[in-house]
Symmetry: C2
């Protein structure tokens, strides 16, 4: 942002990569997965899908696969019968979670203001 | 997240609202609009669409409208001929931008690690 000294003079290639990365990591499902794993430590796929309301199996699979590829989650296959798979955050994933804490705090602190703005906007148009 | 004291004991209704809000505010286009307005101050629609690569007119229109409704941007219609419309961040929008700074910093600092993780992931599957 404007007052981020680290951001103001990056070269365009780095900027493009940051945009790309932000687009991925900031999607809703990724954040909700980070939140759940951050609280629970390690979870199986079915536990994650129960913890995150409205996520489809397909979307959760895609999200976890992209997060594994980005180095944010570690997927562990346990060679038992029947085999089971679980997920936990890597150090990189924890770091991203920490940096998102500020956004969560903002959302909590400003929820009432946002709701008021929405009511005003809707009232002005009805 | 796990070490956010503000988050750990909220009631489920607040949690649902935070999830909803995060889902909206964290989408890629919203963040890119915040970034551009944070740097430029005030921009017209066409300036924003040039500044944000790959955004469609429709997506930018929807994003700005949702942001206006959430109280994040102020839309000003100037009664000149031809009339023109511009956008700037509200205090609420600036606050959200600030809280996202941590995420931008994380992305910049960890870009190399994420790229290495992706290369390893892809190499293991080819």
């Amino acid at each position: 942002m404007s007052d981020s000294p680290a951001y103001s003079h990056v070269d365009p290639r780095v900027e493009a990569l940051v945009h790309d990365l932000i687009g991925r990591v900031a999607d809703k499902w990724t954040m909700l997965v980070i939140e759940e794993l951050s609280e629970a430590g390690t979870l199986r796929f079915t536990q994650l899908s129960r913890a995150i309301p409205k996520v489809s199996q397909k979307m959760l699979t895609q999200t976890l696969r992209a997060m594994e590829r980005d180095g944010l989650v570690r997927r562990t296959v346990h060679p038992v019968i029947p085999p089971h798979v679980d997920y936990c955050l890597t150090d990189l994933g924890h770091g991203l979670g920490e940096s998102f804490c500020g956004v969560w705090r903002w959302a909590e602190q400003n929820l009432a203001k946002v709701e008021r703005a929405r009511d005003d906007f809707d009232a002005a148009r009805s």
